[in-house]
Amino acid sequence: MSTRAGTAADDQFYREHILDHYKNPRNFGRLENPDISHEEDNPLCGDVIGMDFRIKDGVIEDIRFHGRGCAISQAAASLLTERLKGIPLEDAKKIGKADVLGELGIDISPARIKCALLSLKVLKVGAYGLAGSYEDEE
């Protein structure tokens, strides 16, 4: 059942930084000849996120994401690319749900959790796919 909204967290749901990342996504676009390229979608709401990685000496030298969908999925992807750029791929693999949700900084309802974590799924499948050892965490 729907509960009466209006808590401070709710009012902050579409916080300035989420809207900013949605309207002005960072690292948006494609890379030419990426070392890793992977795309995932969420058919339920039609969100699509893809990421291209350039890896040099085990470090994510450059990254771009593309896709479409709701503010949460797109902002989460934009925030994630900022975090990933310049870090070792091995460190990237350690990024988890809590990190992504923490960056968003809002309470995500169960209905929207898939939106928030779609880009993380792209990262995980993409990164582990390269290593050839990905196993679904879910």
């Binding site: 729907s2 009466r4 709401c45 969100d47 969908g69 709701c70 503010a71 949460i72």
Partner: protein, 421 residues
């Protein structure tokens, strides 16, 4: 607790003269959920339930809870009588010839699966053609895809035109190929399009096809006469028509049902079981294996009583008025795209999208205003693909919907536009 629920609404004031009507503010008092303050615009998904329905179910639980069809004592007789009474109410609602043609299912999905399994596996052969439409709900696509794959049959889908209405020219062309089965929704759950079911059934029957009509969005909202419609099967769900989840109906023409094998098998659907073999029960029980959703079926009976007291013409008239109001209000919103036909040819369903705002974001913002709105593909992915959208927002209406709920939706849309500006 409510007295023996006959399903009569709180008041049927205003039915005396002129167009049939009822007072919405009055009947809303039968729906305790509105005391929470929600604006409920998702009735095409599932409807709300009046006290008369929950009361009838509670009465069963508290006064004659027992299993049916094996009565050795009074309360079990009472349970059986009330469970079976729903069948006559439903028969009357859709004007079937006999209660033998009214099969209880869990809902539309199970009803269609029953036909796909029991009728389809017997009659669909390699190379046969099944005709569906692009606007079908997944529940009227997937069972046929499974059947077609198993039998080597072909499925063709009737397309829509720019207004979201079926391309009847294409439909008639497909009928020239003598399809074995034609199955389509009476009303589109995603666009609200009211299909010309009468004309389509007549043409399909003339072409020799067996015809199933998915009435999930039809029966709750308009007068249905299966004999006038002339279809072979008609499926619908109780929970979209004020009843509880878990109780739905398959209507089937008796000759067809008689010739079909059971769907589920086990207890209650048999006459006699011997180790050498089994004699099945008569219609309709042949298709009702295992302990049934007794309370839910009783609840569905109360829902049918409620709707019958309002009058299905009055239900349709009210929804049409709300739909026209909402269509106009939404048309005035800048950056809003409406999908589907004009209000005169649609049921109480309006799908739309907003420029620059994903439907899920809109639904989240609306939820903060206690406005319940659907966002997504509405279990009609082929249609969404055809429209070139991943998702839409959808508002849908029913007997209890008031104009102020539509106003609140418009308020939420404007709030979303302010946030995303």
């Amino acid at each position: 607790m409510a007295a023996r629920a006959q399903g009569a609404p709180n008041s049927s004031a205003g039915r005396a003269q002129g167009a049939p009507s009822f007072d919405v503010a009055t009947i809303r008092k039968d729906f305790p959920i509105f005391e929470t303050g929600i604006a409920y615009l998702d009735s095409a998904n599932t409807s709300q339930r009046p006290r008369q329905v929950t009361g009838a179910m509670m009465e069963y639980f508290e006064k004659f809870n027992s299993n049916i069809h094996r009565a050795a004592y009074h309360i079990a007789e009472e349970a059986t009588v009330r469970y079976e009474a729903t069948r006559e109410k439903v028969r009357d609602l859709i004007n079937a010839s006999s209660t033998k043609e009214i099969i209880y299912t869990r809902g539309t999905t199970e009803a269609i699966n029953l036909v796909a399994y029991s009728w389809g596996r017997k009659h669909i052969k390699q190379g046969d053609l099944i005709v569906l439409t692009i606007i079908e709900h997944h529940s009227n696509i997937v069972p046929w895809q499974i059947l077609a794959a198993e039998k080597g049959a072909t499925i063709e889908y009737v397309d829509i035109d720019e207004r979201g209405e079926l391309r009847l020219d294409q439909f008639h062309k497909l009928l020239e190929r003598s399809p074995k089965l034609v199955a389509f929704g009476q009303v589109s759950n995603a666009l609200g399009t009211i299909n010309p079911a009468m004309e389509m059934v007549a043409a399909a029957k003339a072409a020799g096809a067996t015809v199933l009509v998915d009435g999930a969005q039809g029966a709750p909202h308009q007068r249905v006469d299966v004999r006038a419609l002339g279809c072979d099967f008609y499926a619908f769900s109780g929970h979209k028509m004020l009843g509880p989840t878990g109780a739905g109906i398959l209507y089937g023409r008796r000759e067809l049902l008689e010739a079909m094998d059971p769907f589920m098998s086990g207890g209650d659907m048999i006459k006699a079981v011997h180790i050498e073999g089994t004699t099945y029960h008569d219609l309709p029980w042949k298709f009702e294996a295992g302990t049934q959703a007794i309370a839910e079926v009783i609840g569905l009976g109360a829902a049918v009583d409620y709707l019958s007291a309002l009058g299905m013409d009055a239900v349709r008239a009210h929804e049409r008025e709300i739909t026209e109001y909402a269509y106009e209000a939404l048309s005035d919103v800048e950056g809003l795209t409406l999908y589907g036909p004009p209000p005169s040819r649609r049921a109480g369903v309006i799908s739309f999208s907003l420029e620059g705002i994903h439907p899920h974001d809109l639904a989240t913002i609306a939820d903060r205003d206690q406005v319940c709105l659907r966002a997504g593909h509405h279990c009609a992915m082929p249609l969404m693909t055809r429209l070139g959208v991943a998702a839409t927002a959808r508002a849908s209406f029913y007997v209890y919907t008031q104009k102020d709920e539509v106003d609140r939706l418009v308020g939420s849309i404007k709030e979303a536009q302010r946030i995303f500006k």
